[in-house]
């Protein structure tokens, strides 16, 4: 037992030692090394985004936009699933307030990324602005480790910027390829539908709440029946109302249960 403990102590001290060393090492790293580290951090996510970016680019052209809108769209919006949706909204000439509301609802999840993203490591107001601008799902996912709060600014900005460049390049490449696809090939816009279905299934796997997808589909159906041109806003508003309502019902229930429990404890 004693030897085991002492072994562990040695391991711990060794671990701390190497940590300190690596932290000191990181501080000494030249800028290029840190940028390369950022790139290596994001590379798996960037590879996964390549086919999606190409598909989005193809869609830009298929929706009747000039190919050069692809780099503008992908660089300025820089939010994958919203870009797919935005193409549909643009081709339907959706009023701008409705576009804004759609963006708010689709990207609402991003407002929670602030809770764990290591922005405090990104010194300087301008860099912080870019750090938040490029805070995509992917950047959040790869930096959602406790370790990231010791990363350098160059590494964080490096991973965001390299993903940004990669995304713009892929979407632009897709748009140029898209100009080569003959008009007899139809139905590529189904990629957006398939993307949302897959994201929905993935979300469901994490959440495991059976009513939520069903309620969402009912909301969508009501929206489509009430007013097809305002479907998105109506269905999303209904769905958010349902969520707020179900939150208070749950809270009420759990309060009731707690009350009962405390009564039982008292008796």
């Amino acid at each position: 037992m004693v030897s085991q403990f002492s072994n562990r102590d040695q391991d711990d001290s060794h671990g701390n030692g190497s940590l300190d060393q690596s932290a000191a090492h990181e501080a000494e790293q030249p800028l290029g090394e840190e940028l390369a580290k950022g790139w290596r951090t994001i590379v798996p996510a960037a590879l996964a985004a390549v086919p999606l970016g190409l598909a989005l680019g193809v869609l830009v052209v298929q929706m009747g936009l000039q190919w050069w809108w692809a780099p503008i769209l992908s660089a300025v919006v820089f939010a994958g699933s919203m870009e797919f949706l935005l193409l549909g909204l643009i081709s339907a000439v959706t009023p701008l307030p409705q576009v804004a509301l759609s963006a708010l609802l689709v990207n609402f999840r991003h407002s929670f990324y602030a809770l764990s993203f290591p922005l405090e490591q990104v010194h300087g107001f301008g860099w912080k602005l870019y750090g938040t601008f490029a805070l995509t799902d992917e950047a959040y996912a790869v930096s959602a480790t406790p370790d990231s709060h010791r990363w350098s600014r160059a590494r964080i900005i490096g991973l965001e910027a390299s993903f940004h460049l990669c995304w713009v390049a892929c979407v632009t490449g897709g748009a140029l390829l898209g100009t080569l696809i003959p008009p007899s090939v139809k139905g590529l816009d189904f990629a957006a539908t398939a993307l949302f279905v897959v994201l929905g299934i993935e979300g469901y796997k994490a959440q495991r709440s059976i009513p939520v997808p069903i309620v969402a589909l009912v909301c969508a159906l009501i929206g489509a029946l009430v007013s097809p041109s305002n479907m998105l806003v109506i269905s999303m508003a209904l769905f958010v109302c349902f969520l707020i309502g179900s939150y208070y019902v749950r809270k009420h229930k759990s309060l009731g249960e707690n009350g009962r429990e405390s009564k039982e404890n008292n008796s």
Binding site: L52, V77, A79, S81, L85, L86, G88, L89, I90, V93, T94, L96, V99, A100, S102, A103, L105, N107, R109, S111, F112, A114, L115, L119, K128, T132, F133, V185, K186, G187, F190, T193, A194, L195, F196, V197, V198, L199, G200, I201, G203, Y204, Q207, S209, V212, P213, A216, A220, G223, P228, L232, S235, M236, F239, L243, I244, S246, Y247, R250, K251
Partner: protein
């Protein structure tokens, strides 16, 4: 669909997205403490994605061929995804099937 409109739509979307990404850093405390916001944040993505999927299909024609093609492509997407769990594979399989059906049958 003028260039001015397209640019405006892109800028509006970018502004809202950036605000959602940046503003919470300025007001982290209330965000951390609101259990309602946490609940909405957790439950919303699932529902939003299904609403969006339905939205993208809103202009489907009410013919047997059109509805049949969409149904088959959806079944392939969901089926491949539940089978393999690879998002890209599912998207490309579903889209591929739909493109073949839409280009030949419809």
């Amino acid at each position: 669909m003028t260039n001015g409109y397209i640019l405006a739509a892109i800028l509006v979307t970018a502004a809202v997205t950036w605000a959602l990404r940046g503003l919470p850093f300025v007001m982290l405390a209330p965000l951390r403490n609101s259990s309602l916001l946490h609940y909405i944040g957790e439950a919303m993505p699932v529902g939003v994605m299904f609403v969006l999927a339905a939205y993208t299909l809103r202009n489907t024609e009410t013919s047997l061929a059109a509805i049949g093609s969409v149904t088959i492509a959806l079944a392939v997407t969901v089926g491949v995804h539940l089978w393999k769990g690879n998002s890209l594979l599912s998207i490309f399989a579903g889209t591929g099937v739909y493109v073949v059906l839409a280009s030949t049958v419809l």
